[in-house]
């Protein structure tokens, strides 16, 4: 009699354990899902921010490399002049390929 009662308590305990396990797993997965949502959105935001930063840097680079600016710097700050005719000499390539 006692053994039969003990067995049904054990069965109930196992059943309760599995029910709790399922409930915890479900809640855990839900929490994980929400957490992943946060992280995914954060990554997307970061990606967007980095893209904007890259664009800003590309624009800055283009501005710094603009030929109008380079010419101004060359002429006004470095005192360069456009070469006069005859100043540029292109040496013919040597026949032996050197």
């Amino acid at each position: 009699m006692m053994r039969r009662r003990g067995r049904s308590v054990l069965r109930l305990a196992v059943l309760a354990f599995f029910i709790f396990l399922v409930l915890f797993t479900y809640s855990g997965l839900n929490l994980m899902n929400v957490d992943l949502g946060y992280r995914q959105h954060e990554q997307l935001r970061q990606e967007a921010r980095l893209r904007l930063e890259i664009d800003a840097l590309r624009a800055q680079r283009a501005e710094l490399l603009s030929l109008e600016r380079i010419e101004r710097v060359a002429r006004e700050e470095l005192g360069y002049q456009y070469p006069q005719p005859g100043q540029i000499v292109r040496i013919a390539e040597a026949d032996d390929g050197r």
């Binding site: 946060y38 590309r58 624009a59 603009s66 030929l67």
Partner: protein, 562 residues
């Protein structure tokens, strides 16, 4: 026994209380979860669900080497939430202390505040530096809540005025206002999207779903070369200033592909301030300036005469000592000649000789060549506001039309049409549609001139630069083929005393790489194409050839001196 009964009663009472409590909770839950489900779900959704508008970003425009010509950057726009006019006016005053606004703009903002507008822009599309100056206002206790910022995209042209007329520009709401920004707007602007998000109590997004996927604007790679464009613009501006001219235009084509390597129109403007620019300045002269081409058009006449074998190259024509009359109209030459060969008519640019050749050729045959060279219709370049030009069919010609058309009058063309025509002998007789995009689909080639004729035409054009009217375009060691042009301008329906000077050509003549066409509008003093436009052609050509590594032929020993 009594005690046991009492405790049973207490237990029962407690159980009833607990039961009532549980029942109350159940009823409340039933009310919340079942009866009030719709209402409360709506409230929760209002607090946690949000739909975010995703703005589309315009595509980046680059030159053929990938150098950025236009790009959209995110920027902040400042606005006032006008709940209290007095406070808002105070905010405006403090904003202006940090970032002065023009008086008219400030007055307009104050007027809107007093009128009671709830949302008033202070300044849109702030630069980073401007934003840093006014950002403290949003954190200051006295102004916080009244002033705030929105994210918007700002179109930036990092190369300044470079290629302004090709690029165009955009308005304050990123609407296209000209150039490729307009012609390619459907592809460049992209499409905004909508994002449904779930936010927590701290407004952090933990779930999102696209209601509409944003489509970013397509990046566009132009065929322009920034260094060549820079050279062209600088030399053009210098020539226009030196001759006190009203303006000018230059087109540089890749002779082999028809790609536009540079296109400049003077005066230029800043694309970032396009809304502040006079309409006349915005006009791209390269594609919308209509003028009588004058002697540069003799190239088309020569092509037609060669193609139809109207005369031999050494056959001579009577040039009547510089004055000739067709019907009652006088045709004159700048330099009088008794007789000139066909080649020399082109080389010395004789109007009388050209008229004689034209009359020999006949209207129908000449008209056919003119059409095949692409006149009287748009070239099809992907830029807005291109003009067709004016070309009347032979049936509408007067008795003098053929003679005058032979030296470039009674027809109106654009500089781009002329550049395309000059590219015909450079490309072995093909008429190539000018391409403004690097990856643009190439239309089928159209043959405008037989290959043999195009070689002969190139020879004649080389002689123009070597010993004719175009000697000021010559570069030692580099064979240039070209033709000068000087034409009276039409003003209020009559030929006026002002001129358009032009020069078109290509080089190296034996294996053309670049085709260049330049015009100077209303130069003061010297006005002949050979004096005004040819030196500009040379100035551009000598710098372009250095850039492209085109080396002039020179003495074998000691290298080549440029």
């Amino acid at each position: 026994m009594v005690a046991s009964r009492q405790s049973k009663k207490r237990f029962l009472a407690l159980s009833l209380v607990l039961l009532a409590w549980v029942l109350a909770i159940v009823l409340r839950l039933f009310g919340l979860q079942v009866l009030g489900y719709t209402t409360y779900m709506a409230k929760i959704r209002a607090q946690t669900n949000r739909v975010e508008e995703l703005h589309s970003k315009r595509g980046t425009i680059t030159d053929r080497h990938g150098e950025i010509l236009a790009i959209s950057l995110q920027s902040k726009s400042a606005f006032i939430s006008n709940k209290d006019a007095a406070q808002s006016l105070n905010v405006l005053q403090r904003f202006c202390q940090r970032l002065p606004l023009p008086g008219v703009q400030r007055a307009a903002i104050a007027r809107r505040i007093r009128r009671g507008d709830k949302f008033v822009w202070l300044k849109r599309k702030l630069t980073d530096e401007e934003y840093l100056r006014v950002r403290p206002l949003a954190e200051d206790a006295a102004t916080a809540g009244a002033v705030d910022f929105l994210d918007e995209y700002r179109r930036v042209y990092p190369q300044g005025t470079l290629a302004a007329h090709v690029l165009g520009g955009v308005g304050i709401d990123e609407q296209a206002l000209g150039g490729v920004e307009t012609s390619l707007d459907p592809e460049i602007k992209g499409r905004g999207g909508r994002l449904k998000v779930l936010v927590d109590a701290r407004k952090r997004i933990f779930q999102f779903r696209y209601l509409q996927q944003p489509v970013p604007g397509r990046d566009v790679h132009l065929s322009l070369s920034a260094p060549l464009q820079f050279i062209v613009e600088r030399e053009l501006a210098a020539a226009v200033a030196a001759h006190g001219a009203a303006g000018g235009a230059v087109i540089m084509l890749d002779s082999r592909s028809g790609e536009v390597l540079a296109m400049a129109s003077c005066p230029s403007y800043d694309p970032e301030a396009i809304w502040n620019t006079a309409p006349a300045v915005l006009r791209n002269k390269a594609i919308s300036f209509l003028y009588d081409p004058g002697s540069t058009f003799k190239v088309v006449l020569a092509a037609s005469a060669l193609e139809h074998r109207a005369c031999g190259r050494q056959e001579t024509f009577d040039c009547h000592g510089g004055v000739f009359a067709v019907r009652n109209l006088r045709i004159t030459d700048v330099h009088p000649y008794a007789r000139l060969s066909f080649d020399d008519i082109i080389v010395q640019s004789s109007n009388i000789g050209a008229a004689q050749v034209g009359l020999r050729l006949g209207g129908e045959r000449y008209y056919d060549t003119i059409r095949r060279f692409g006149f009287g219709r748009r070239t099809g370049i992907l830029l807005p506001a291109e003009e067709n030009g004016i070309l009347h069919p032979p049936a509408d010609w007067s008795g003098v039309s053929l003679a005058f058309l032979s030296f470039g009058y009674e027809i109106a063309v654009t500089p781009l049409q002329m550049a395309v025509a000059f590219n015909v002998p450079a490309s072995g007789g093909l008429r190539l549609r000018p391409l403004i995009l690097r990856d643009e689909a190439r239309p089928p080639e159209e043959r405008a001139l037989a290959a043999g004729c195009s070689e002969q035409l190139a020879e004649i054009m080389s002689a123009v630069v070597r010993r004719g009217t175009g000697t000021k375009a010559a570069i030692e060691g580099l064979e240039i083929a070209g033709k000068t042009g000087t034409a009276h301008k039409v003003k209020t329906g009559r030929y006026a005393g002002s001129y358009v000077s032009s020069f078109g050509g290509f080089f190296p003549a034996a294996d053309p790489r670049l085709t260049l066409f330049v015009i100077i509008d209303e130069p003061e003093g010297l006005h002949f194409g050979g004096d005004v436009a040819a030196p500009l052609f040379r100035a551009i050509a000598e710098k372009a050839m250095l850039h492209l590594g085109i080396v002039p032929a020179g003495p074998a020993e000691g290298g080549v001196r440029l």
